[in-house]
Subunit: 201 residues, 2 copies
Amino acid sequence: MSDSDAARHRARMQARKAVQDAEVARKTIEKGLLMVNTGRGKGKSTAGFGLLLRMLGHERRCGVVQFIKGQWQTGERAALARFDDLLDWHVMGEGFTWETQDRARDIAAAQRAWARATAMMQEPALALLVLDELNIALRYGYLDTEAVVAALQARPPALHVLITGRNAPAALIAAADLVTEMTPVKHHFDAGVKAQPGIEF
Amino acid sequence: MSDSDAARHRARMQARKAVQDAEVARKTIEKGLLMVNTGRGKGKSTAGFGLLLRMLGHERRCGVVQFIKGQWQTGERAALARFDDLLDWHVMGEGFTWETQDRARDIAAAQRAWARATAMMQEPALALLVLDELNIALRYGYLDTEAVVAALQARPPALHVLITGRNAPAALIAAADLVTEMTPVKHHFDAGVKAQPGIEF
């Protein structure tokens, strides 16, 4: 690279850093975030487990309530067993609804899971609560969206909550601080690749 | 819910399960996936750490090479220290380019990190390699995209590789099995909320 290229690069990087520093200086609020990972793409729950990991690395207490997944063993659950000192994990336990085919039982299970979530939200030491696939329970009408959003808004102000699942309802998106849509650009299932350990479970 | 509602619900769930079973039966291929998390939204690297966690839960060996982040301590790194028995973590170590403002040094650092990545790809026991922010190194021209894609395609066939970062190049997307775009629907930085421990680092 020539000296003038190097000088141009340095000037560009300095300008970028100045913009970034100014942006950082404008951001002064600290608060518990209401976060939503939605969309049809892969990575909604996976990013939730990554976020747990990040918070656990700061030695803060975390909780997970899984609204749809059943009791089967997954890689993430086995791995997070190494954080039993900091992490409280609760599975709704009825498995996917199309396995059980009993709406009344699904509703009762979702309501038990939600009761657990609201109890966990009151634990003063909790830093992050992940409500995995809560959006699915809302989508099927297993829980009342308005009541759920109101309870989330009334949570302790420092508590971070992440909600995952397709089809996040509009009222939840309106209430959230951070909403990310995971969009599949290309998916290996479409090419006939099966679900594999460590990737899908 | 009335009996007829319940019957309709059951029929819908049965139909959905039949579709799902047929889909699962069509997916028979097992292979190492080339995966890309890109887009401007939050969750690209975070989902990468979640994927590591999932694979580590299956007691499989994993590797991480971070192409942009420097040596500072993050929550994810502290947490993943509990997996030292299974995880090999390498940081390029020069920090963000707009801090160093030295393109030649950045290129040399990116090339060292890439050499490390290609060496890790040859370890027979490795199940998953995460190349965090490799897209940024490609975007800045620190590495040659064509050579990188060729090396990725020549990797051992069972090895899963995940590449993160904005602006994934077209040649990488073309070569990938799974590409997810993380799109910000709403971001708390825009509302003046600062980066917080456990959420951003």
